[in-house]
Symmetry: C2
Subunit: 142 residues, 2 copies
């Protein structure tokens, strides 16, 4: 278990923040990727306010669409995601956070990644490790 | 330049396809990740029909929300994405495709990844390479 890194805030400029485009509900999709493994862990949604909180607190804070409330990832589960870098795409309508995942994993099922199921009859398993990684393709699908 | 891989179809089961949940507009977000580098390349949207086409043709086919038409990634640009594996998340409302990216890159700007811009004053650069990769964090931000 690595030592808990300090949560480090990211000081985005007003110009950078102005690039972000929110949908009609005021939301933007946020992809979360594990820094160590490269695995895509999950996708959740942010408002302008939870993006601000994420950058300020150095950990992911989402908007729960089902509960309609601010969702500090890991407050209940312990699965806190410390942000290593934060990116916005060419159109400004998708965010990407590269994180140190703490706790049991990103997924509420206990899996490291929410994408543990694959279409087809292949080995499935968590995606996201590069081809050169010998662990690539290790099956975790139920 | 690696040899062009054959496009390989993925035979999803009806049970797997029934897990996918579409939003009120009949769309589901689809994350695309590079198989070789682990980089997150882009996010686009699929309908049930373009998901079916993607699995059948073994290359990503999206729904262009701006043009309101089927968008076979790479037909114009040459930046075809051959699917290595296709995943759906725990809630069934996000897809992940691990691909072999051909052509100049995934982004219409010519960048390998659409997430070439980072918040803050850090090195920025394309995210997604694992920490053990010496190329991690190489800056490409403009």
């Amino acid at each position: 278990m690595p030592a808990t890194p300090p949560a480090t805030s990211i000081e985005a400029t007003d110009e950078q923040l102005a690039q972000v485009r929110y949908d009609a509900d005021g939301l933007v999709p946020a992809i979360v990727q594990d820094h160590a493994s490269g695995q895509v862990l999950m996708l959740a949604w942010m408002t302008a306010e939870t993006l601000r909180l994420t950058l300020a607190e150095g950990r992911t804070v989402f908007w729960s669409r089902s509960r309609r409330e601010v969702w500090r990832k890991g407050d209940t589960s312990g699965d806190v995601q410390y942000v290593r870098s934060a990116h916005y795409d060419c159109d400004g309508d998708v965010l990407l956070f590269v994180v140190d995942q703490h706790g049991g994993g990103a997924c509420h099922t206990g899996e490291p990644s929410c994408f543990f199921r694959a279409f087809g009859s292949g080995s499935g398993g968590p995606a996201g490790r590069p081809a050169t990684d010998p662990v690539a393709g290790v099956g975790r699908a139920p």
